[in-house]
């Protein structure tokens, strides 16, 4: 899993069956110093509570679909947690 910041939302009315009700957010992956790392991606919101500005952790590939309510959906990134604290020692 990687750390990411939610920077926006995606509104899509017409979607593949199985994605009905799924929220899509634009997330910017971050490196371990919380600096942007690569291009933003669109992720399904598996916790159904993430919002722009939130620090989250995301899973990719097959695990992203497993995180969604319906596990056989075409989703390649999913938000699986909202970070309360990101503690680094040393």
């Amino acid at each position: 899993m990687q750390l990411a910041e939610v920077i926006g939302t995606v509104v899509a009315t017409e979607k593949v069956e199985g994605l009905t009700g799924v929220r899509f957010l634009i997330v910017q992956p971050l490196d371990r110093d919380r600096k942007p790392d690569g291009r933003p991606v669109v992720a399904g919101d598996a916790v159904e509570m993430a919002a722009p500005g939130d620090l989250v952790y995301v899973v990719g590939s097959r695990e992203a679909a497993l995180a969604m309510p319906e596990p056989f959906v075409p989703v390649d990134h999913a938000i699986v947690g909202i970070v309360d604290a990101w503690e680094r020692s040393g």
Binding site: Q2, A64, P71, V80, D84, W86, E87
Partner: protein, 96 residues
């Protein structure tokens, strides 16, 4: 599998249910000699690893789901061992 050094933890209360009561470790990725590569991964802890320890990380979904005992868990990275020593080209690297 990958080598990492536990550099911190992630705490969250709003998350997928599978992460309830599980520790999430921030692991800085290492090369075969124990040097920092600059990358990191957030992994589920399966061995009670502590901060600063060098660990063995499984980064493959099916194996990870087997470790946590849930065939539908959205988990790919799991800390599955604590490394005591690395031996490369006959040279020993103590990592504890």
């Amino acid at each position: 599998m990958k080598l990492g050094r536990v550099s911190g933890t992630v705490v969250s209360t709003i998350n997928s249910p599978i992460f309830d009561h599980r520790r999430l470790l921030v692991c800085d990725l290492l090369d075969e000699r124990g040097n920092d590569t600059g990358g990191y991964i957030i992994a589920v802890d399966a061995v009670d690893a502590g901060a600063g320890e060098t660990v063995l990380i499984l980064d493959e979904g099916n194996g990870a789901r087997q470790v946590v005992g849930d065939p539908h868990a959205p988990i790919r990275a799991v800390v599955v061992g604590v490394v005591d020593e690395l031996l490369v080209d006959g040279e020993s690297f103590s990592v504890t």
